[in-house]
């Protein structure tokens, strides 16, 4: 049965993020939670930083961090796609999570309100690592990005033939300018390891207002053709992912696709199992 491989330091999982850095990402984001004039590119950067942050916390173990995952970020804009991590990680397609956690571009200090234990709230200073800043320019070569992703996951599967198949997460406003994204997406998900084929999820950040949609089983409620194409390009969730999504309060069914419209996708990194997760730890 596919998608059963254990994720461990010896047999790590792989998340490859494809991030849209095209000019249209300058437009306002219409998502309910983060609207308020925020640009799509800013929302994308927030999402990506939070995903890497949460993944780092997930893998943290006592005073170290276990390399349960390798993570890559490819950015696409103008006419090309290239590795988008900066600083000491420039040019790298995939990086072990321990190295990523240890080398953010900078660590900011932010204030957040938290429970004071007696029913009140207190301001708390928290560290907010930043790996990725907003950027936008030129067209949307999403097909080129999917082509590059295919190469990266092919190499990964050759090097980790028994591992859990890689997961590619594309974050975009959905307007590809270089071809048929569904056809290119099929090539990514045709890459096979012994435990199944690579999975492709799409996070759609739109300027079109409307309710957020998470893990739909069909495209009937999606607002436009871009969303429908991204839905079509998205993999069906594995049974474990459906069960985990349900545990986390998401409306998943056996037909659910890895597609999210105008919502924070933080739950996605919990779709892979690395051991017992306390139900009483709140996701951030």
């Amino acid at each position: 049965m596919a998608y059963q491989a254990e994720i461990s330091r010896k047999n790590p999982g792989c998340f490859l993020f494809l991030v849209d850095q095209s000019e249209s990402m300058e437009d306002p984001f219409a998502g309910a939670e983060s609207g308020n004039g925020k640009r799509k590119a800013e929302e994308l950067a927030t999402i990506l930083n939070k995903l890497i942050h949460n993944l780092s916390i997930r893998c943290a173990k006592s005073d170290s961090i276990y390399d349960y995952f390798h993570v890559g970020v490819l950015g696409y804009s103008e006419e090309s796609c290239k590795p988008a991590l900066g600083g000491e990680l420039s040019g790298r397609s995939l990086v072990p999570i321990s190295e990523l956690a240890g080398k953010p571009l900078r660590i900011e200090e932010r204030t957040k309100q938290s429970d004071d234990g007696t029913g009140g709230v207190v301001d708390q200073t928290v560290k907010f690592p930043v790996w990725f800043d907003p950027y936008w320019k030129g067209g949307t070569p999403m097909c080129a990005a999917l082509k590059d992703a295919t190469k990266v996951v092919e190499t990964w599967c050759e090097e980790h033939p028994k591992g859990f198949p890689p997961i590619v997460i594309n974050i975009t406003d959905g307007e590809a300018t270089d071809g048929d994204l569904v056809a290119e997406a099929r090539k990514v998900t045709a890459v096979n390891g012994e435990d199944g084929s690579a999975l492709l999820f799409n996070i759609h950040l739109s300027s079109t207002a409307g309710p957020s949609i998470e893990l739909p089983g069909d495209a009937s409620k999606l607002p436009d053709e871009h969303a429908k194409a991204l839905f079509e390009a998205s993999s069906t969730l594995t049974p474990f992912m459906v069960a985990r999504a349900t545990e986390l309060g998401l409306p998943a069914t056996e037909n659910s696709r890895g597609f999210i419209f105008n919502a924070q996708p933080l739950h996605v990194i919990h779709f892979l199992d690395i051991g017992t997760r306390p139900a009483n730890v709140r996701l951030r």
């Binding site: 916390i57 997930r58 943290a60 017992t276 997760r277 306390p278």
Partner: protein, 261 residues
């Protein structure tokens, strides 16, 4: 004069091994047993530190030790965990941690817990549980050993990867709703097995599939090597990779070590 002690009523053996691929230092379960201050009782505990939490081994040890050193065998035990929590915090205080480790430690450590008090005088047991460590009571009456009780989970299908666990930081969680308590009686020769989740689930599955290991556990399990052999067999037959802990208690109704003095 004839004198019997509580320990005489129970033969207790504990077995453990780390997750395959991990070192012995990375084993995050804990177990403890001790003769309780009240007469003729023993207290046994197992705790299973959650993989997705930090400093979980320390918390599992503190929980198991707290139980066997306590006199409480009801929900109040969980209200008196502040000294253990304080000790957990103290062990981490002042430790220089990178940002991710510090943030993870701030969430606290988590563990599943099962504590059993065996009142040998009255041939009864009381068990407390939060999470998915399990107590399995198996009798030794007829030709086929029967499962008398499985607590707090009864079927292999009830185990999940996200149980509710006890945290090392009391953060307003409604623990009361998650505490499970059970009581039962014992007959001569009854076997109590306290097992962490993956092993308990597998033992129940073997039982459900008509391949119970009760007889083997009762009569053959005796050394670390025999436990390792069972785990090796299990790994080829559906046992999920995890840390494994099993405490086996065999109850003897008569004080077997009673001696004339």
């Amino acid at each position: 004069m004839k004198q019997a002690t509580a320990a005489n009523h129970c033969d207790i053996k504990a077995f453990c091994c780390p997750k395959s691929g991990n070192s012995a230092e990375e084993y995050e379960d804990a177990w403890a047993h001790r003769r309780a201050p009240i007469p003729a009782a023993v207290r046994v505990a197992v705790a299973d530190g959650a993989t997705e939490s930090s400093f979980a081994k320390l918390w599992a040890v503190l929980l198991a030790e707290s139980f066997v050193r306590s006199e409480l065998a009801d929900a109040e035990f969980f209200e008196r965990l502040e000294p253990a929590r304080r000790l957990w915090r103290r062990r981490l205080a002042g430790r220089p941690l990178p940002w991710f480790a510090s943030e993870k430690a701030a969430q606290g450590a988590f563990a599943a817990f099962l504590g059993v008090q065996i009142d040998a005088h009255q041939n009864r047991w009381t068990a407390l549980a939060v999470g998915d460590c399990c107590l399995l009571q198996v009798d030794n009456v007829g030709k086929r050993m029967r499962v008398v009780k499985a607590f707090p989970l009864q079927k292999s299908s009830q185990f999940t990867m996200s149980p509710y666990l006890i945290g090392s930081r009391s953060n307003g969680d409604l623990l009361d709703e998650r505490i499970q308590i059970s009581k039962g009686s014992l007959r001569d020769g009854d076997m109590l097995l306290l097992a962490t989740d993956a092993l308990a689930a597998w033992l129940l599955k073997q039982h459900e599939d008509g391949r119970p290991l009760w007889n083997w556990l009762y009569r053959k399990l005796g050394t670390p090597e025999s436990f390792a052999a069972m785990v090796a067999y299990g790994r080829k037959n559906g046992l999920r990779n995890d840390d494994f802990t099993l405490v086996r208690v065999i109850h003897h109704e008569s004080p077997v070590e009673a001696k004339e003095r």
